[in-house]
């Protein structure tokens, strides 16, 4: 795990499973329901795995229900998913998750996840313009700002 900045999180895992199996576990709603929900009942309300498609998962626990949702921005089968992630409890705060699967050639698969924290304005602007470069620039500015605030 590396944390290059306060606004971006990188997490990696190596799974002892071929890439096709990992991919299926990530995009098949019946499989997702079996691992995504922290040991709680998970209802997959929507899962349209395609560019622009919606996903919405609701987790039912003793403490109540938590809804999570977003849209898929990129779906490249067995290789890469880019999706927005929002929790109902933090409206307007969007996390852009990029998950990449790498076939290690020995039956194992490396999953690399990058999560970028954004505001709803950032997301809407990005959706409209498709300019990730501008977003990266504004986050570089924010990183500089945060480092001066330490």
């Amino acid at each position: 795990m590396r944390t290059p900045s306060d606004r971006e999180i990188h997490v990696e895992r190596i799974f002892d499973a071929p890439r096709e199996r990992v991919w299926k576990a990530m995009i098949d709603p019946t499989l997702v329901a079996q691992w995504w929900g922290r040991g709680n009942k998970l209802v997959v309300e929507r899962m349209e795995v395609e560019r622009g498609g919606h996903w919405r998962f609701v987790e039912h626990s003793d403490g109540g229900t938590h809804g999570f949702e977003g849209r898929y921005r990129e779906v490249t089968p067995i290789e890469r998913v880019v999706q927005a992630f929002e929790w109902d409890g933090m409206p307007g705060h969007v996390i852009l998750e990029t998950m990449t699967l790498e076939d290690l050639g020995d039956g194992r698969t490396r999953l690399m996840n990058t999560s970028l924290f954004m505001t709803a304005e950032d997301r809407d602007g990005m959706m409209q313009s498709g300019m990730e470069e501008g977003m990266n620039e504004s986050y570089a500015a924010l990183d500089r700002l945060l480092s001066t605030m330490e």
């Binding site: 999180i9 997490v11 799974f15 040991g39 409890g89 505001t119 504004s138 500015a141 700002l145 001066t148």
Partner: protein
Amino acid sequence: MVQYSRHTDLAFAAIADPTRRGILERLGHGAASITELAEAFGMTLTGVKKHVQLLEAAGLLSTVKVGRVRTCALGPRRLDEERAWIRSYHEMLESRLDRLGSFLERTKGAAS
């Protein structure tokens, strides 16, 4: 998960604007008056005051008026709640991927 206050929304909205991020960045190097900020950013006093008010409402900036000069400095709140949300998400993400790993182990050999 912890519930976060309205302040967090204000703070994210406040820092969504490049000029306001610039103001905070400038104040990170030391306090400045409204007039100094207006000069530094090539803006009118009224324009700067609007940004300052938004940042003040979010608790990211505080002002003190001495005589006719209003001085701005970084506020008490900074970005603590945002950091808490990011930490909480990070833990959730790590455990989600751990569960994916366990699931793959558990279903190994099963038809898939």
